[in-house]
Structures are given as structure tokens and as C-alpha cells.
């Protein structure tokens, strides 16, 4: 807790805060980072292999192979989520499985599975993008901001 906020706490609350701090389980940050790095890296390596596959067997270039690769990765993660495998990977890897594009597929399907009992229209249909919606919204917004920065930098910044 920030020091500013702590000053506003009553003595009892401060005492409780210290009591809690001493006893709470420490997060294994280094281990979590290592797991995320390894699993995230493995997912990226699989993505690279799929990209090479599309380039080798089809007429995709390095530039155009990205689209089918992303589609395949999302599709695979959706299948794995449906089979309950991706959840186990996510428990172990944390951000390593959520940050790559496969995390998007997982977010869509896990929400769909969760709300299946509420019906297809009001359950699956309206809740499917509950988690992934923010990814789409902020992804689009971030792309817009970056495009704006690039336009300004190239048009007037002389880059």
C-alpha cells in the first residue's frame, strides 16, 4: 500500500496491515516470470514454425504469412480451451499463455463455455466477447494512436 494512503489509516488498521503483510504468502515472481518466458517463448516458436509451414507449402511471403498464422494459432488455442488443456497450461504459465494471440482465443472460448447454460443468444452470444472485447477495443485504439504518431513523425517529423 502506498505510504500516502497508509497515513490515513487508523492505528488499528495500520497494525492489521503490518500483521497481514508479515503473514501473507509471498508471490514467486522470479518463478512466474521464468514460466511465462518459457511457455510464451514456446508458443512463439510454434507460431514461427506455422509461419514457415505456410511460406514453404503455400504462396505466402514473410509479410503475408502472418495472417494465416494468427488465425491458426487462435484456432488451436480455441480447440485446446474446449478440451480443457489450455487452462492447465495457463495455470502454469500465467501471462506467458495470456499475452500471445492464443490468449485471445482462450478468452473467447472460456467465456462462451462459462455462459453456455444461459442459452445461445443471451448466454454465449452476449458474453462471448466479455473478456476479448477489451482486447479488441484497446487493440484498435492502440493501433489508432500508433498510426497517428507514425503519421505525425513521418509527415512532419522528417523521419
Amino acid at each position: 500500500m502506498a505510504n500516502e494512503k497508509r497515513k490515513k489509516l487508523t492505528p488499528v488498521q495500520q497494525e492489521y496491515h503490518l500483521f497481514e503483510k508479515e503473514r501473507e504468502t509471498k508471490r514467486p515472481i522470479v518463478r512466474n516470470c521464468a514460466c511465462a518466458f518459457l511457455v510464451g517463448g514456446t508458443i512463439c516458436a510454434i507460431g514461427q514454425a506455422i509461419s514457415y509451414f505456410y511460406m514453404y507449402f503455400f504462396d505466402f511471403t514473410e509479410q503475408t504469412a502472418g495472417n494465416p498464422t494468427v488465425a491458426t494459432m487462435v484456432f488451436l488455442s480455441m480447440i485446446l480451451t474446449g478440451l480443457g488443456v489450455y487452462d492447465r497450461i495457463a495455470q502454469f504459465a500465467g501471462a506467458g499463455s495470456a499475452v500471445p494471440v492464443t490468449g485471445f482465443g482462450n478468452a473467447v472460448i472460456s467465456a462462451a463455455i462459462e455462459h453456455r447454460t444461459e442459452g445461445f443468444v443471451l448466454g454465449v452470444g452476449s458474453n462471448m466477447f466479455k473478456l476479448a472485447g477489451s482486447v479488441i477495443l484497446f487493440g484498435t485504439f492502440a493501433a489508432f494512436v500508433i498510426a497517428l504518431v507514425k503519421t505525425v513523425a513521418t509527415q512532419w517529423g522528417g523521419l
Binding site: A34, L38, M55, Y56, T61, E62, Q63, T64, N67
Partner: protein, 156 residues
């Protein structure tokens, strides 16, 4: 048990990450093993004059930001494909621009197509190998170069 597994994966990833680029390339390709085959540059065995292509290859090979080059020419068309070393890919756009300008200056009367795309490199290398194996007439070669050029310009 879990720790052992984690340690084994970490060691394997670290070892494979430290591998030399050439070894990685050998592993990344199937069957034909494109990258393993040395790039001699141009189709010397071909009957068609490959002088401009040879000059382009010789010129680009002097650059340290170009790893492998392969070139083919036919009529007024010159197709040059090259590979940029992995860590120099940060400046890929700049290198591509410099090379395109240099080649255009070297071959003013030619329609020069240059690309650092791996697929274009494979296709050009494949074309060069085919040219060494059998006789090609100018029209077939033009058509094949046209196909690769079209592929290199594809955006989606």
C-alpha cells in the same frame, strides 16, 4: 520432478537460443534443405546471359548487412533476393531502401526487383537451380520472374 522438468526445458531453450544461425537455418527447412546449399550467386550453367545478375551478387556480397544473395536476370528484368542477418533486421527497411537505390543506380536500364523476403529468396534460389539443370528460353524465364515479382508485391 517439476523442478527437473523446468530446468531441462530451460537448459534446452538456452542451448538452442545460443546455437549458431547457420545451424538453426539447417533445422528450419524441410526436405530440400534450401539454406544448406551454398549460394554461388547466379545460374552460371544457364545459356542465358547472367552477367548483370552476377554483378549484382558480387556487389551486394561486399556488404556486411547482407548474408546471402541470389539473383536472376532476363531481358530488361533483374530479380535480386537476399537475406539480412537476424540482428540487423532492426534496420530492415533502411537496408532494403539502400540496396534498391544502389541496384537501380548500377543498372539504369533495368527493371530491378529486390527483396529481403525469405519466400522470395527461396523462389529465386529455386529458379536459379532449375536454370542450372535445364535450358530455359527467355519467355519462360520472364514469366517466372514476373510471378516472383508479383508475389513480392503482394500485401495481403
Amino acid at each position: 520432478m517439476k523442478r527437473w522438468w523446468l530446468a531441462a526445458v530451460a537448459v534446452w531453450l538456452a542451448a538452442s537460443g545460443c546455437a549458431k544461425e547457420e545451424t538453426e537455418q539447417k533445422q528450419s527447412l524441410q526436405g530440400a534443405d534450401w539454406m544448406r546449399a551454398q549460394t554461388f550467386g547466379t545460374a552460371k550453367g544457364a545459356v542465358l546471359d547472367q552477367g548483370p545478375a552476377e554483378r549484382a551478387v558480387a556487389s551486394l556480397r561486399q556488404r556486411d548487412d547482407v548474408r546471402e544473395v541470389v539473383a536472376v536476370n532476363s531481358g530488361e528484368r533483374l530479380l535480386v533476393a537476399y537475406q539480412i542477418p537476424h540482428l540487423k533486421r532492426w534496420k530492415r527497411k533502411k537496408i532494403e531502401k539502400e540496396i534498391a537505390e544502389r541496384l537501380r543506380a548500377m543498372f539504369p536500364g533495368y527493371d530491378v526487383v529486390s527483396s529481403s523476403d525469405l519466400k522470395i529468396f527461396w523462389k529465386t534460389k529455386d529458379l536459379k537451380t532449375k536454370m542450372e539443370k535445364k535450358r530455359w528460353d527467355e519467355r519462360d524465364l520472364q514469366r517466372e520472374i514476373g510471378r516472383i515479382e508479383k508475389l513480392s508485391k503482394e500485401q495481403t
